[in-house]
Symmetry: C2
Subunit: 336 residues, 2 copies
């Protein structure tokens, strides 16, 4: 499967790395619109760089080798991963349609852009869909946690409380440094409902930190599952880490000590010492490493769209490429 990545930012660069490692995929290249240090890094990593025709000279002036135009890149591939800035996907979709290429979009796009996707929850629904939307890191994490709980217990209602990171680590603008903002009825509950049928509300805060979102769930069950049962169900999930921790920095430091590239964990960390159960209500928090959680879903979406493998095999291969099984085991051991 020939894959290209249109947009080389936080998500795009990680998806490109994963595609390059996948046994059934070939990375045709990535697109860049500015001849900056990110373009040089892509070159350093050996990726083909495709640019708008009118910008070729700008790149070459900076000594960056250009593989061709963005349109040539798209023509040469079987599927596009669109990792452009939030909201730009809609305009790009017209181009993909014109060139007859299927595409995977990100969660920053409106849900009308394509079939919302979470590997654990609805892998098979993506088969042959022309356009797929991998939901955001928070929604992906909620799905990874709620789907197994819903399979095991009857959930009556979910209330989500998110403390989002103010900016990604390499973002030097567009973030607050001394303020918390909030949004009632945030998009997250709606987005979960594009994948999982569960009554849910969400309230999202944004605070001045960069390492990870810290999201909490109040789940109202029909029944009274114990703390231990909740933890056991989530610990059995390949794409959820369950750990004891007291801060986002403690978790990220473990990722750094393990030598993980970019300290990426690829998984939400369910905080086992945050679980509080009272009657039929259970509360717990998850830490969401915002940059890397959706990488696995992008890879699985490519596989699902093209029918390359069945669900279980695809998820297993993706986890192996990203080292998720080892990461889960190591973090659960060190923060046990």
């Amino acid at each position: 499967m020939k894959v290209c990545v249109n947009g080389y930012g936080t998500i795009g660069k990680r998806v490109a790395d994963a595609v390059a490692m996948h046994p059934k995929m070939q990375l045709i290249g990535i697109s860049k619109y500015t001849p900056d240090n990110h373009a040089k890094m892509a070159e350093r990593l050996g990726y083909g760089i495709y640019v708008p025709a009118e910008k070729t000279a700008d790149f070459e002036k900076k000594g960056i080798k250009v593989g061709g135009t963005v349109e040539e890149m798209i023509k040469a591939c079987d599927i596009v991963v669109d990792a452009s800035a939030d909201g730009k996907g809609a305009a790009n979709r017209a181009l993909y349609e014109k060139l007859g290429k299927p595409a995977i979009f990100q969660g920053g796009e409106d849900d009308s852009i394509g079939k919302s996707f979470n590997a654990r929850s609805n892998f098979d629904a993506a088969r042959n869909e022309k356009f797929i939307r991998v939901v955001s890191c928070n929604t992906t994490s909620f799905c990874r946690v709620l789907k197994p709980l819903q399979e095991r217990f009857k959930i009556k209602r979910v209330n989500g409380f998110l403390i989002r990171r103010g900016a990604d680590p390499d973002d030097v603008k567009g973030s607050q440094i001394n303020s918390i903002d909030w949004k009632a009825n945030s998009h997250h509950s709606h987005d979960v409902n594009t994948i999982i049928d569960v009554p849910m509300t969400s309230l999202a805060f944004k605070a001045p930190h960069t390492l990870a979102h810290v999201n909490s769930l109040y789940i109202h069950f029909d029944g009274e599952p114990s703390k231990e049962e909740i933890i056991k169900v989530l610990k059995a999930e390949n794409r959820v880490i369950v750990a004891k921790a007291d801060s986002t920095s403690q978790i990220i430091e473990v990722a750094r000590d393990l030598g993980l590239k970019r300290y990426d964990l690829y998984m939400p960390v369910m905080i086992s010492n945050s679980v509080m159960a009272e009657g039929n209500t259970v509360f717990f928090s998850i830490v969401v490493p915002q940059e890397s959680v959706v990488v696995a879903e992008n890879i699985d979406a490519i596989v699902a769209q093209g029918g390359l493998m069945a669900k279980e095999e695809s998820m297993r291969v993706t986890e192996k490429i990203l080292g998720m099984d080892r990461i889960k085991k190591d973090v659960e051991t060190v923060l046990g």
Copy 2:
């Protein structure tokens, strides 16, 4: 050379990794005083864990295998790297003296504890010294930059302005979040003078960020070196990166994209686009990744103390182990 690391924090864990990779060294083990997740990480990395005798039961209760007591560890080694908390080294020195072991201390100790050391500036002065003090990351970085400039030009006076990071990334207390503090006549200029003879003052600020210190130097020369000459001299240094950048986060993101363990750069980054030259005064800034800069010096100090290799060979081997040659080349290419 049998080496142990007493204190397994920010510096200790990095020095332990480097010792374990050194062809002439054997890591006997590291000491831990609390059976926390850092102890579990050391176990995960395969390091022998030595604890105070009275705490052995606490560690074993948590399932952490103990290799012996701290005193046994020190007895079994040829040299101790003391990476304990600032100011604790003085008390530890008495123990090392009692057991007849040489030791390397860190820059948080008073300079009376041992011979101040910077590999580039005074490697040979450490030969056979019983106690050596690797100066702090800022002082180390200043020495790495000032020594070659002093060899090439006549420096009349240096004024240093430091913007220090408020806390290390995994520190959840002891740092400010909305304040800048300052100290005139900070210890840095004094510390540089324990190694390099140059008239110098320093003024240090501390601000709420974690990625790196950002330190600036006003250097008054006897003569008028150009911007280009300054850059050329520093670019020729193996332990100084020279790069064009606009923020600490941009530099750290490059380290992450390169997949560097813990995003450690091991070197100050001289910001080429910060250089301003006017008459006989030159101004420039350096970014100091505070966690990792002194690792190389700790390794070289062990070699120098024991007379294992001559200066150039030691520095080259240390740089190879830490991948510093590749890191310098990559960062200078991507941020060229």
